[in-house]
């Protein structure tokens, strides 16, 4: 039985805001930190109907992306109470809806849109008993209560393309796409490959730049028709406009995502239909067993998640359907490869651009990347835009560098991710390098990078423990995110393991407020702290306080010895060049992105640089070296 209800986005926004306020207020009273999801016992399965909520970017009956998920949940073979918030083309609205559904006690919340990923990273950890299902995405962002899903849309695209090739007289086939991202690009590339392999002479592809602009899609179809196209396809919810044009012109149409036959019963040849229920059933079975997430799934022709649904109202030439069925079988067996050719690599000196949030010589995060690119063992022409603390400025710089013909654009800041998702698909020949981030957001021309900052933090913490007399160590952090939290958690663990009695952590809430960092350090000193550390560019203020107080300081990101030559004990230095070399080698081989990298002590991307001007007690440095070795070997775990 399916019970279905809808909430308007505005109500959900209000609910979400209230929920947020409630959570925030409650946070202040919490005596104990919440247990990490990794250690939580398997959650009991709720009795009664399974409460499932879908948050989708377009109408739930769009005959495309959103409808595919609604139809799939309705096809589940279990008792489901379904709620839907659709039309959430504004990500913030979707985030409020996702949080609202989780607050409302739903068992499963489906965030049906790649663009909801960043919000989900914030929301999912707050609701460890809720299973979040997110797609299209190829990984779970490291969250244990998130399942990810994606379609191998190129497979159905290839089949559709091969059929289309048999229908065209002019040999020219037209494609109307939205933005060059996600399953749209996979479908279109697969379609192109199939059509060309099937004998079409040309496949003209138009990305309109919009998922929702129906008029633009219609005009794109008109433009194709004006250029000898006699078969059309397209993907995303705006193609209803293009189907109308195809209908008027009497041109065959191929659908994807949902069965689009009802749009043009005489002209839709076939549709690749997403049957998410195939992987949803697997996810729910895992949930029943207490596994709430942490796995990624793919629907494809082999597992029945993708199905080519033919329209019996369209009469195919003799043998075409049999050939199509054989093609499906060949793809399922792996006999036919539907993947695409890789772009050629540009010759000459490598043009690299860095967009960084703080000054390129900040002795911290930004400088670490500039130093690393300069350390690359190849001919590099480097451009830098730093101080882009406003994300919109950074986005403009990233796009500008891509337009300017740079080979590699490094978006050096987690906060640039949302912009990159919009920009990267527009420049398929440019490699974008983004961090700190643990995944590539499903983009094939994005490499991601992150530091295992907890490792160096652990080493620094263990040394710090040997220097403290009071047993109390102070930490000044910016915002509780990214490598800052990893470093600080690692430092805390190392210090406590090394014998410190207490590690006091202050997140100032700002990456740039030097005065606040200084005052945070002062506050620590007033509370018996006699060793300090901190991370991010604003810590220069805290180092000044440490200097005046004669308190040892531990650095991270870059070597901070020059700030306090007598008091900086050691710095964990990021050597990004270790993974940049790997990325560039892949690029040389035609792989422009799609992989995530980590620097750590083992691969030499993280290095503990000691300050010889600070005299350590006997044996401490040897012990630190041994600790580095132990972490490298895996004998010591620094995970927090």
């Amino acid at each position: 039985m399916k019970r279905q209800r809808r909430l308007s986005p505005s109500i959900l926004v209000m609910l979400g805001a209230l929920a947020f306020a409630g959570v925030a207020c409650g946070g202040g009273d919490a005596e104990e930190p919440a247990a990490p999801a990794t250690t939580a016992a398997p959650t009991a399965v709720a009795a009664g109907p399974l409460r499932v909520a879908i948050v989708a970017p377009s109408a739930s009956d769009d005959l495309a992306f959103s409808q595919s998920m609604v139809d799939s949940v309705n096809a589940l073979e279990r008792d489901v109470e379904l709620s839907i918030t659709d039309g959430t083309f504004i990500v913030e609205d979707a985030a409020a809806a996702i949080r609202g559904y989780a607050e409302d006690g739903n068992d499963v919340v489906i965030a049906h849109g790649t663009q909801f990923g960043a919000s989900l990273m914030e929301i999912a950890p707050d609701f460890p008993d809720v299973t979040f299902v997110w797609g299209t995405a190829s990984d779970t962002q490291g969250l244990d209560n998130v399942f990810a899903y994606a379609p191998a849309a190129d497979e159905g695209g290839y089949v559709n393309g091969s059929i289309a090739a048999s229908l065209t007289d002019s040999g020219v086939i037209g494609v109307v796409g939205p933005i060059e991202a996600g399953d749209a690009v996979a479908y279109i590339n697969g379609f192109e490959a199939g059509a060309l392999a099937g004998g079409a002479s040309e496949v003209n592809i138009t990305y309109t730049g919009s998922f929702g602009d129906v008029a633009l899609a219609a005009e794109a179809a008109e433009a194709h028709l004006a250029n000898d196209v006699d078969v059309l396809t397209g993907t995303a919810q705006m193609v209803v406009g293009a189907v109308g044009v195809a209908t008027d012109a009497g041109v065959p149409w191929f659908g994807t995502q949902a069965n689009q036959t009802s749009l043009a019963p005489d002209l839709v040849v076939a549709s690749q239909v997403y049957h998410w229920e195939v992987v949803l059933e697997e996810m729910l079975a895992l949930r029943d067993g207490g596994v709430l997430g942490g796995q990624a799934f793919e629907i494809n022709l082999a597992n029945g998640g993708l199905v080519i649904e033919f329209n019996d109202g369209f009469e195919l030439p003799a043998g075409v359907r049999d050939a199509a069925e054989a093609m499906i079988e060949a793809i399922t067996n792996g006999t036919v490869d539907t993947s695409n050719a890789t772009p050629a690599v540009a010759a000459g000196p490598l043009r690299v651009a860095i967009v960084a949030p703080s000054a390129s010589d900040d002795l911290a995060f930004s400088q670490s990347m500039v130093d690393s690119v300069n350390a690359l063992e190849r001919d590099v022409e480097l451009s830098i835009t730093d101080g882009t603390f406003i994300v919109e400025d950074a986005a403009a710089a990233i796009r500008g560098y891509a337009e300017d013909g740079n080979d590699v654009v490094i978006a050096h800041g987690t906060q640039f991710g949302a912009s990159l998702m919009e920009i990267a698909p527009d420049f398929p020949d440019v490699t974008f390098v983004w961090g700190t981030a643990s995944d590539t957001q499903g983009l094939d021309n994005v490499f991601a990078y992150a530091p295992a900052a907890d490792e160096g933090g652990y080493v620094n913490g263990s040394i710090a423990a040997s220097l403290t007399d009071s047993g109390v160590i102070g930490v000044v952090g910016p915002i509780e995110a990214g490598d800052a939290v990893a470093y600080i958690n690692g430092f805390e663990a190392g210090a406590l393991a090394g014998g410190a009695s207490e590690v006091n952590i202050t997140y100032t809430g700002s990456f740039g407020d030097v005065a606040l960092a200084a005052e945070a350090a002062e506050a620590h000193l007033a509370n018996d702290v006699d060793v300090l550390t901190g991370t991010a560019q604003m810590v220069v203020g805290a180092v000044g306080v440490a200097t005046d107080a004669g308190v040892p300081w531990f650095g991270t990101q870059a070597n901070q010895t020059s700030l306090a030559p007598d008091l900086v004990v050691a710095s964990q230095v990021y050597h990004w060049e270790v993974v940049l070399e790997e990325m560039l080698a892949l690029r040389d081989g035609g792989v422009l992105g799609g992989q995530a990298f980590e620097i750590n002590l083992a691969n030499g991307g993280l290095v503990i640089e000691f300050n010889d001007g600070f005299e350590l007690p006997a044996g401490v440095r040897d012990a630190a070296e041994a600790m580095i070795e132990a972490i490298t070997n895996g004998t010591v775990s620094t995970g927090s």
Binding site: A24, C25, D361, T506, G509, Q537
Partner: protein
């Protein structure tokens, strides 16, 4: 929470509050004088940034802290001349002009820092000076009377500014051109000159605020103020255009910030609540503004360029 209510922590919190309040207070007092004359300056943050940079550069090059203070003051004065020419001389819209000054200060200080300094280098900080006798008062002396000279100056400027505005002819002129410039003009008060001088004083004090900020920290980096100048403008409204009220606002803002930091250091605010706690000073200010809204009377001619009819 018990850890917070120990004398040593309370003293440290009070000292921190005063340090944090000092740049706000200097900038807000200067802005109070400007606004009482009818001139709003949203460029305070930019003036502070430029002054902070030049003060930092001065001490970096010479090691002389008092030269650095003087440089900050002079840079503020120079920016005041620029702003005065724009808003009084050319009768430009104050809001947009102020934003222009802010962007100019932000960009130029950033550019100069990169070209002249690059990697941040620590410089000497203003030393604390004990006030004879008072600094020996147990606990209170440590919190209030073992501060640097610019802090003492900032708090001494509160009564000085109040006296200037309420007890001097020039102060009366400032208030009159801020309330009714046409009437002041008809009585022979030069509205342009009075406003120009008020702007010079206000910007000079913003310059001092920038110097105080950077010399308390002993280091500079781009956008050092982090919007401090805008909060200083808000504190003028908070203080109802009165020096004592402005001081109350600056101290409250500093105290809330300092308390939040102490609570974080002591673990009273859990790490998970950091983000919410960071909003506390702003929320408190907004609530106070709402509470004060009905009693506040802004200068009638504030933001209005003067034109003789």
């Amino acid at each position: 929470m018990g850890d917070f209510f120990t004398l040593s922590v309370l003293v440290a919190t009070a000292a921190s509050a005063i340090r944090l309040a000092t740049p706000y207070l200097l900038a807000s007092l200067g802005e109070t004088i400007g606004q009482r004359s009818g001139v709003l300056n949203l460029g305070v943050d930019g003036v502070m940034l430029l002054s902070a940079f030049f003060s930092y550069w001065a001490v970096l090059e010479t090691g002389n802290l008092w030269l650095a203070v003087l440089v900050g003051l002079v840079v503020g004065l120079a920016m005041g001349i620029l702003y005065g020419v724009i808003t009084v001389g050319l009768s430009a819209t104050q809001g947009i002009s102020g934003i222009g000054i802010f962007i100019f200060g932000l960009g130029l200080s950033d550019l100069l820092f990169r070209q002249q300094v690059g990697t941040p280098k620590p410089v000497r900080r203003l030393p604390n000076v004990d006030v004879p006798i008072l600094s020996d008062i147990p606990h209170l002396g440590e919190a209030l009377f073992q501060r640097n000279l610019l802090t003492y100056l900032a708090f001494l400027l509160v009564p000085a500014t109040a006296l200037l505005l309420s007890r001097t002819t020039f102060g009366l002129n400032i208030r009159s051109v801020g309330e009714n410039p046409q009437a002041a003009d008809s009585l022979g008060v030069s509205v342009e000159r009075t406003r120009f001088v008020a702007i010079l004083i206000g910007n000079s004090m913003a310059g001092l605020a920038g110097a105080a900020l950077v010399l308390q920290l002993g280091i500079f980096q781009p956008n050092l103020t982090q919007g401090l100048g805008f909060i200083a403008v808000a504190l003028v409204y908070f203080g109802a255009w009165r020096p004592a009220g402005v001081m109350g606002g600056a101290l409250l803002y500093g105290l809330v910030n300092a308390t939040v930091l102490q609570w974080k250091a002591l673990g009273i605010i859990p790490v998970s609540g950091s983000d919410l706690a960071n909003m506390a000073p702003a929320i408190l200010t907004i609530l106070a503004l709402i509470a004060l809204a009905r009693r506040v009377h802004a200068p009638s001619a504030l933001t209005k360029p003067f034109t003789r009819h």
